[in-house]
């Protein structure tokens, strides 16, 4: 399958996805510079973690105006699978491809730790290989991961199953104690209405190899591969 990883000035996880997709999963993956205007023949797009434009105005606020974002928008609106991780999630929010906003962590500190998540929705291109309710480990590393959405919209999101990952404890309980940043309803990841755009704060690429302590995150990328294979078959 053909993946594209968009590189913004200040992205710093871009090479990590190239490694996991290219070396671990043996997929075709290319880096696309933010000033390009085309995603080429990519079948799945990843917006990476990092600090695009230094996060100097607001996280993701400047990156969403990069020339490539027009192509990303078109790709997403056309149903193409788009995954935004960490800063990539923040960019998707600023670009209006996902609803809501990020606030600073409630501790007001950057937090990096191994985090447990509960998979809420397996009906997305990035989660189909998980079991609903499964507890997985994926490290977090962010200063602004405190997701917020107005109550009315939040209810809609909940009702439509658009919460994809929630911070949880080892029992799968989404307790306040298990919430590392103060996100409303322990939200760690959400999807758009069509389900093809996913934003998540945790880093599945950091738990994609046994040698790094966990392979729980690998299924995010494997699900995408399976989804694309399925779609390829349907198209034939």
């Amino acid at each position: 399958m053909k993946f594209a990883v968009v590189v913004f000035p200040g992205s710093n996880c871009d090479r990590d996805y190239l490694h996991v997709l290219g070396n671990v999963l043996r997929q075709e993956v290319t880096a696309v510079w933010h000033q390009d205007t085309s995603l080429g023949d990519a079948q799945c797009v990843i917006l990476p973690g990092g600090f695009s434009y230094g996060d100097y105005l607001r996280t993701g606020a400047l990156a969403c105006f990069s020339p490539i974002m027009e192509a990303v928008r078109d790709f997403a609106n056309g149903g193409g699978p788009v995954l935004g991780i960490c800063n990539g999630f923040q960019i998707l929010l600023e670009a209006g491809l996902l609803p809501g906003a990020m606030l600073r962590n409630r501790s007001l500190r950057f937090v990096c730790r191994r985090q447990l998540l509960r998979v809420e929705n397996t009906n997305t291109p990035f989660t189909s290989l998980y079991e609903k309710g499964q507890v997985i480990q994926a490290p977090i590393a962010h200063g602004e991961g405190n997701y917020y959405l107005e109550p009315a919209e939040l209810r809609q999101l909940e009702d439509n199953g658009r919460i994809v990952f929630r911070y949880a404890d080892s029992q799968g309980q989404a307790t306040d104690e298990a919430n590392p940043n103060g996100s409303v309803n322990n939200i760690a990841g959400i999807a758009n209405e069509a389900g093809n755009v996913l934003g998540m704060m945790p880093h599945p690429e950091r738990s994609s190899e046994e040698v790094l302590g966990s392979t729980d995150g690998l299924a995010v990328f494997q699900s995408a591969i399976a989804y694309l294979a399925e779609r390829g078959k349907a198209a034939c």
Partner: protein, 744 residues
């Protein structure tokens, strides 16, 4: 700006930190009176921070050569061969004074500066470490410093995408007014891409790349070379402001540029900015440089030549490409949104010649500004009197712990500032970006895999300042020994060090004596352990209101693992594993955290140094780790055997039962800090093999107990003296620093 005559009349060199005889020396070099810009250039480059005036003559003691050392001291950073055509580049640098007055920016720019030293060499930075010292965490001022420094280090490293993988933080009153912030950075580079700071090739262009130049940080290096006092608030403008986003772009642009093959030489603009980078590059190549300052991209209007030459604006580099490659350089930097401007050219007359607005603004021999050109001093040395008092302390007069006091003493130590978990600190650092971190903070050393190879590296940074206060030479050697122990305990072979020597004012005979002893101690241990010095940093004048810090030679060490995955961590892993001690059970109390915490006492000459035992026991541990015999390994350091065992249990979240036999003092047995010791856990089936190997190598191994359960218990003979619920220990220890800093 003052005229040369006005400078002479008003003795304007004095506030810049130059001595009268140094001013005379400058007049002699130039054959005339220096102008204000020239005086400023000399003042900064002849500061202690840049010129190592008081320490340089001592460095000849350091071992600096070995087959693996590709680049030793004198360049931006050392480079060590790790096989497969790759080298590790590493260096440590201090940012103590800036952090004392402006903790966030001081620490952040410390990280930025050391990162530039790494990628200037052509290496991609793959890891950051840091070594921090503060006063009593109960003080609100100290808490403010800790918060600022940790956030500054975190934000800069996190944004640049370099994981912070290891470090150390400790607290002692002597650092209350003069905190220490030593940042270390580590990169990886192909041998063929190692790049140096050399301006060779007459006619080659000289280019300023990266950020713009402003008035920030002028005389930062001078400020770093004086004692701190109450006037420091006024020195705030001497502290630079960091921009990690620009640094990240600069990393990518510089690495792309170096890979393109057009770079002749490159140097970062650290202390003394344009002055140091241009004079060093010219001096290294025995060439000259001519520059027009009007061409330097500036962020403020109306800057004069003095300000432009001395600015310490961050995230800038000086590049000498091959003539004709100017446009290629500009194109690469434009892609990354950065400036790249030709400001001058390489000449052959050995002069640094600077024009501004069409006028000659400065003209000095480049070599006279360089380290070799700067004056150096061998001041009088005197052994300090305080040592007599410490060394004559009679430990017989100190009451031992009664068995029923031990549980309480254990808890007191476990939850004390220098022993509680550093989780509060390291959680603010991205430890995992780049996917190389196999072992992050919280074990003895960090372990990283090296992409494209089977190999791994182990990294640590260590020093026990109290040992150094009690015995400057022995303590410095123990700092190297402890670093080596952390590498060995992780399964690595110690290869080389970078050192950050932090001391007081060397113009005081007692401090200069400490400095000479420190260098001898580091040198002796590096020789014995086979770890040459590849470069480092000296930070002197660490005093407040005349009171010096403990001599604090922090040692950053690199170790190599032939197989990255054959590492050990400190964590107990399996129920039923046996626990063994490597090394002799100790009898020493001197220098221990126990004495400090429980008895409020610093006494004796510190723990005994035995470099042969260090090497023998360390090599043994490495052997049993790489052959897969053991489940965990941890060196015994602060808090002694009881605390080391507790740390293994806490890291593994699994209990342990230990029985010790006490020949003499209970306190020394449990909490003494005798060196060259490790605790291992080993599957019972492997124990005989382990014993056999120990016998062969003449290493002492004794059985202490067994891993398992959910309690941590220690018996002395038949008497249970420590019996604690592991869950409660985890809670108190893990969140201990949060509580001590008032964050909970």
């Amino acid at each position: 700006m003052l005229t040369p005559q006005e400078i002479q009349q008003t003795q304007a060199w004095r506030p810049m930190g130059l001595k009268d005889e140094e001013y005379q020396k400058i007049c002699g070099i130039l054959g005339r009176l220096p102008n204000y810009t020239e005086l400023g250039m000399y003042a900064v480059l002849w500061s202690e921070h840049c010129a190592y005036k008081h320490s340089r003559p001592l460095f000849k003691n350091f071992p600096t050569k070995a087959e693996r050392i590709l680049v030793g001291p004198g360049e931006n950073a050392g480079a060590i061969d790790i096989g497969d055509g790759l080298a590790i580049v590493m260096k440590v640098e201090s940012h103590n004074h800036p952090s004392a007055v402006e903790p966030y920016q001081g620490a952040a720019t410390g990280v930025g500066g050391i990162l530039r030293d790494i990628f200037t060499m052509g290496a991609r930075p793959i890891a950051n470490l840091n070594s921090l010292r503060f006063g009593d965490p109960a003080s609100e001022h100290v808490r403010r410093l800790v918060r600022g420094v940790v956030a500054g280090i975190g934000d800069y490293g996190n944004c640049t995408g370099v994981p912070t993988v290891a470090g150390e933080v400790s607290f002692a009153d002597c650092y209350a007014g003069n905190c220490l912030v030593n940042a270390m950075s580590v990169g990886v580079v192909s041998h063929s891409l190692i790049t140096k700071a050399s301006a060779s090739g007459v006619g080659n262009p000289v280019m300023v790349v990266g950020s713009t130049t402003g008035r920030d940080g002028i005389h930062g290096a001078t400020f770093a070379s004086a004692e701190l006092s109450e006037e420091n608030e006024e020195k705030r403008p001497s502290v630079q402001v960091g921009d990690p986003f620009t640094e990240k772009l600069l990393i990518e642009a510089c690495l792309e540029l170096i890979e393109s093959g057009v770079v002749v030489g490159i140097q970062d603009m650290g202390a003394a900015g344009l002055t140091s980078s241009s004079s060093e590059m010219a001096s290294n190549a025995s060439s000259g440089i001519e520059m027009d300052l009007s061409l330097v991209p500036q962020r403020e209007k109306g800057m004069n030549s003095y300000e432009i030459m001395l600015s310490e604006s961050q995230e800038r580099m000086l590049v000498v490409p091959k003539a004709g490659a100017e446009e290629q350089v500009k194109a690469i930097f434009k892609k990354w949104g950065l400036n790249a401007v030709v400001v001058g050219k390489v000449t052959d007359d050995g002069m640094l010649r600077v024009f501004h607005n069409g006028q000659l603004a400065a003209e000095v021999p480049a070599k006279s500004l360089s380290t070799e050109g700067a004056p150096s001093y061998v001041p009088p040395a005197k052994r300090p009197d305080y040592l007599d008092k410490l060394w004559s302390y009679d430990f017989q007069q100190l009451p031992d712990l009664e068995p029923d006091e031990i549980q309480e003493a254990f808890w007191q130590l476990l939850t004390s500032a220098n022993i509680v978990s550093r989780r509060w600190v390291w959680e603010q650092y991205d430890q995992d970006v780049q996917l190389g971190t196999l072992v992050g903070p919280g074990s003895d050393a960090a372990v990283l895999r090296i992409p494209g190879t089977k190999r791994g590296i182990a990294l640590t940074i260590d020093c026990n300042g109290r040992y150094c206060y009690q015995n400057p030479k022995g303590g410095a050697a123990l700092a190297v020994a402890e670093a080596a122990r952390n590498i060995y305990a992780s399964g690595g072979l110690p290869l080389a060090i970078t050192d950050g020597l932090n001391l007081g004012n060397p113009e005081k005979p007692e401090i200069y004596w400490q400095l000479t002893q420190t260098v001898q101690g580091v040198a002796a241990a590096c020789r014995a352990l086979g770890t040459p010095v590849t470069g480092g940093n000296v930070s002197l004048y660490n005093e407040t209101e005349g009171e010096a810090i403990y001599p604090t030679p922090v040692i950053g060490m690199l170790g190599l693992l032939e197989d990255a995955e054959q590492y050990a961590t400190i964590a107990f892993k399996n129920q039923g594993d046996l626990i063994a001690l490597v090394g002799e059970q100790g009898e020493e109390l001197s220098g221990s955290e126990y004495l400090h915490v429980r008895r409020n006492l610093v006494a004796g000459s510190g723990p005994k140094l035995d470099l042969d035992a260090e090497k023998r026991n360390g090599e043994f541990c490495r052997a049993v780790i790489s052959s897969g015999l053991v489940s965990s390994c941890h060196d015994v350091s602060d808090g002694g055997c009881a605390i080391a065992l507790a740390e293994c249990a806490l890291a593994g979240k699994i209990g342990a039962h230990v029985r010790l036999y006490c020949p003499n003092r209970r306190d020394a047995l449990l909490f003494g800090e005798s060196q060259a010791r490790y605790v291992l856990s080993v599957p019972e089936n492997n124990y005989d093999a382990l014993r056999g190997l120990a016998l062969q190598r003449g290493v002492s191994v004794s059985l202490l107990g067994r891993v398992g359960g959910d309690r941590f218990t220690v018996e002395l003979g038949e008497t249970k003296v420590i019996d604690s619920d592991l869950g409660k220990m985890l809670d108190q220890w893990t969140g201990g620093l949060d509580r001590l800093l008032g964050e909970k």
